[in-house]
Amino acid sequence: MAEAFLVAKDLHKSFNDHKAVDGVSFAIGKNEIFGLLGPNGAGKTTTIRILSTVLEPDVGEVTIGGFSTGQQSDKVRSIIGVCPQELALYEELTALDNLTFFGRLVGMNGKETKAQAMANLALMGLEQRAKGKVSKYSGGMKRRVNLAIALMGHPKLLFLDEPTVGIDPQSRNKIFETIQDLRKNGMTVLYTTHYMEEADRLCDRVAIMDGGKIIAMDTPHALKSQLGDPEKITLEDVFLKLTGRLLRD
């Protein structure tokens, strides 16, 4: 792993009696795509919320780019971008308005915001529909706008929480290509997904969470090797072996 850009140490977070995150520690290297995998309720989203300064951990600390999320949250927020699992968009606004609105909130000025908004929409193949209301977009287009917003302000670290849920193969492919391009340009990415083949294809390393804990962490190849021939074993086999076949809520 290259020089660590994100370091999470012994994170704990409980809601009432439920331990959502229970002693999670890991580091993500600069320019790395790190996958955070786990069944529903494993604690992935809570972990991302802690890392992105939305939630404070009960115990533990996080540094991103050398800044503490506890004491220097404003500086942390200036170098991160978050693409949440939900389509957190203002549907009554145009895609361009959505991007410029969030751009202003990450500290960009008006002119700069508009230029980057158009560039991001072009990156997502949406420049022709920039001035269309988001409510008229397809699910795949909304997912791409969701990601385009996360890229406003030139973040150094991007949190992608299941960015490809429920979209068509073309939109999914576009998002993959974009993530790979971003990495080529020096961005660090934390990626959560339920699609194991996505993690296998994109991620340099993955951590598998269950019950609020990290139960395995390595490269996809190394994890598959633990079960047998990595050419025949899939990451999904590893995932099911580690987390079991019981249905989760």
Partner: protein, 393 residues
């Protein structure tokens, strides 16, 4: 502060762009006002219906009594068979019926006492009571006529005056007395007549501002559900700025709505001077702040959009009723004291003082201070409860 303004500006822009939202907040108040204006406007005097059961169908005096009631310009009459009247009373279709018994004329002719009856549900209702009061006046006159005639007949008994002449002369005398009474009553109008615009406009404006603000609160709950509030907190926006931005947005929206409605009233009804218009805008601004603070309390405690909507609508309607939007609350009644807990009361009172009584800001300072106080308390409570995430910041 700059980021809070960005939040507020986005919402104002959305409000102004959304035709449905604009229609709701501007067109509906105008339509409601127009309906009330045309339903009640111009009816300065009471007008009601007297429901009469006349069982003395062939009686001269019963006929005369019905004609006298019909001659009252404030009354229409509707003659009903007894069975119909009883059924309508039973179903609350009507609340009071005036019953003339079958032996009414015969008894009067022979100088025997006779009883008329008001059949009523409960207290007969407001209209019924007024109708009964008018009929009592007519019956009282009839009673006096017969008493005078009896006295005159008694005084002239045994003298050479025919009964026909006594009757004719007595009626002529009484008729002249009715036209030129010894003791007269006159009505003097003081001030302008009750104005429906002045009466209803303030309440309707404040009601719709409260509706808009409480529905805005529901939108905040929805934003929390779909994750946009959480996403805002991953930018450089703080929870305090988010809260203040939402407050500013709500105030702006409420104020813009009030401004447009007051300006329309200014142009259409010409009820303002420039100074009274500005004073009303100030009241509207402070009221929009108080309403927004209440909206944020709702947004802070409601867990779902539906809950927020229902709580908002319930609060708005309760405040509208307590604030005397659709009826005047009598002083020193239980409702009067209850109305004092509703901020709407103070806003409506202040606007009425400025619009109807030609008051100035010095006449409404207490109302403004109370509304501002509600705003401050509401903001403190909502800030304590406000969270962008159900279990987070």
């Amino acid at each position: 502060m700059r980021r809070a303004l960005i939040i507020a500006l986005r919402e104002v822009k959305t409000y102004l762009q959304d035709k449905g939202d604009l229609a709701f907040s501007l067109l509906l108040p105008v339509v409601t006002f127009a309906l009330i204006y045309f339903a009640f406007g111009g009816q300065g005097l009471f007008h009601g219906t007297a429901y009469i059961v006349n069982e003395d169908t062939n009686g001269v005096y019963a006929k005369q009594l019905v004609e006298d009631i019909e001659a009252e310009e404030n009354l229409d009459i509707e003659l009903l068979p007894l069975a119909d009247a009883e059924r309508k009373l039973e179903h609350s279709d009507i609340n009071m019926v005036f019953l003339i018994p079958a032996d009414f004329s015969d008894k009067l002719r022979t100088g025997q006492p006779v009883e008329l009856t008001f059949m009523q549900r409960g207290n007969g209702g407001q209209e019924g009571q007024i109708v009964a009061s008018i009929i009592r006046g007519i019956v009282s006159e009839l009673n006096q006529d017969f008493q005078v005639r009896g006295q005159v007949e008694q005084a002239l008994a045994g003298k050479d005056v025919s009964p026909q002449r006594i009757t004719t002369t007595t009626w002529q005398f009484l008729e002249r007395e009715r036209i030129y009474p010894l003791v007269g009553v006159k009505e003097v109008a003081v001030g302008s007549e009750p104005n429906m615009v002045n009466e209803f406009l303030p309440g309707i404006i404040t009601m719709y501002v409260l509706f808009a603000i409480s529905l805005g609160a529901a939108a905040i709950v929805e934003e929390r559900r779909i994750g946009t509030l959480e996403r805002l907190l991953t930018t450089r926006l703080t929870v305090g700025e988010l809260f203040f931005g939402k407050f500013l947005a709500s105030v702006s929206r409420g104020f813009i709505q009030t401004f447009i409605l007051l300006a329309l009233s200014y142009a259409v009804f010409q009820i303002f001077t420039p100074l009274s218009f500005l004073t009303c805008l100030l009241i509207a601004f402070v009221f929009a702040m108080a309403g927004s603070a209440i909206g944020l309390v709702i947004a802070s405690v409601a867990r779902t959009q539906d809950t927020a909507t229902w709580v908002g609508v319930t609060v708005t309607l309760s405040m509208t009723m307590l604030g005397g939007t659709f009826f005047t609350i009598q002083k020193d009644t239980f409702l009067y004291y209850l109305s004092k807990i509703s901020v709407n009361t103070y806003a409506n009172d202040a606007l009425k003082i400025i619009i109807s009584d030609r008051g100035t800001i010095t006449d409404v300072w207490l109302e403004i201070v109370i509304i501002a106080g509600v705003c401050i308390v509401g903001l403190m409570v909502s800030r304590l409860l406000f969270k962008a995430l159900p279990q987070g910041k």
